[in-house]
Symmetry: C2
């Protein structure tokens, strides 16, 4: 394996930029995942690992993992421990980092025609929320999570970590035109906009059988009028007390639970 021992190596700059820049990740069509657990998840889930980077001390301690990575990754490289620490996005680097091909796919209507459950997220900004939502969606077997282009980048390091690997397994689709996609979905099923509005139905009274899409919006502003208009129906989660709203990850979690339970 090639050894990188200089911080000036162009791969070091490349990795740092992959961690920090969503537009660079998009241009390159890849993202970075770090840590033994996430990288093991990536291997197990069949994600396409373009490059695998290890610190020297990681290699000494994890021979089996290295074997597997060498079989599956496009290339494997070694970094001196101090160089790995300089690249790492975490405080206590474990010494393993993969560059992985993006996993979002085009939307597959055939897959959701019969009883498919879809979550659509519009302009969700917080990476912790997005990671938690992906984890919940995977746990409940949601068929596809749709993200509007203006959501926080699903391949941001905090999202990848917070999803606990769900980003590798949960089918994802990113769209430039969420209302149009919902319009297409309406030919097969019922779409619900999560919004407290005149005519919104309490979640407890919604018919969530068959193919169902639920759309949840931005932390502060909720869904756009265009997306609300594109949905067949409107739902809200009944609340008490002085709370104005739920956290978007809590709201999405409860809606998903009702959709699949």
């Amino acid at each position: 394996m090639e050894l990188i021992s200089s911080k000036e190596n162009k791969r070091i700059k490349y990795l740092k930029k992959l961690f920090s820049s969503a537009s660079f990740r998009r241009e390159e069509g890849v993202f970075a995942a770090e840590g033994l657990r996430l990288c093991s998840d990536a291997l197990r889930s069949g994600a396409e690992v373009v490059s695998a980077y290890f610190s020297q001390s990681f290699i000494e301690k994890n021979p089996d993992f290295i074997d597997e990575a060498q079989r599956k990754a496009g290339e494997c490289l070694v970094l001196r421990d101090n160089i790995f620490s300089a690249v790492s996005d975490t405080k206590t680097p474990q010494g393993v980092l993969f560059v992985i091909k993006r996993l979002d796919k085009s939307f597959d209507f055939d897959k959701i025609k019969n009883n498919g459950k879809v979550l659509a997220l519009e302009n969700v900004q917080d990476p912790v929320n997005l990671g938690t939502i992906l984890r919940t969606a995977e746990a409940f077997g949601v068929d596809t999570v749709i993200l509007s282009r203006d959501c926080c980048d699903v391949y941001a390091p905090k999202v990848v970590r917070g999803s606990m690997g769900a980003v590798f397994r949960q089918p994802l689709h990113i769209t430039d035109d969420l209302p149009a996609l919902i319009g297409d979905f309406n030919r097969f099923g019922t779409s619900y906009a999560a919004v407290l509005d005149r005519g919104s139905v309490p979640l407890t009274e919604c018919d969530l059988n068959g193919a169902v899409l639920s759309a949840v919006g931005n932390e502060g502003n909720g869904l756009t009028p265009e997306t609300i208009a594109a949905c067949t129906r409107k739902l809200y989660i009944p609340m008490r007390g002085d709370a104005e709203s739920l956290n978007v990850s809590a709201a999405a979690g409860i809606i998903l639970w009702e959709m699949v339970k």
Copy 2:
């Protein structure tokens, strides 16, 4: 109002320590909340504001708020803008900060005897999770949230902010002996330990009528054996897919939803 114009002022060190040290907050019996929205919530909810601190530019822009704070707070002080920024726990300080008396109370069994809904958290460590859970608990009108002493401090700045003010309104109780408290609760109602175990009942089949307590545990390790043993029954949230578990705030949200809906 007294003007503080030196970073060496002992109140400046006091405020910084309130933000950074859970043990200091506990010793002093107070905590700090920052920002116009949170401080407005504190005034509205009747929290006891010991001291109110404003930046000079905040005072110029918010005369009505200052009037109200002067009527309700024990004392009001002014900080030069640069001093306020040095104290602030946020990147873009709004210029208002309250020191508030702790709000957790002793556990009131009378209040929950009839149909009371209680959430018990054991060793929940992440402040974002804890803030989200408090917000959800308030939204669903949970009667009391019990925190084991080893939970992340409920008055940590990230929890206070993440709760969106729920920390001022949601009845809270902190206990040194969660299993004993659950034992006492069992005289009035049913307690459920959220754990995937032999004998655990799917959440969809739990009888959540009457007085109910649900206990949710640490992010990585779940509940302790002692707390599981103290509960009357065990429940789990049915999942599909490869996800090992839900995020604790998502799990707590779904259990609370089922308890109160």
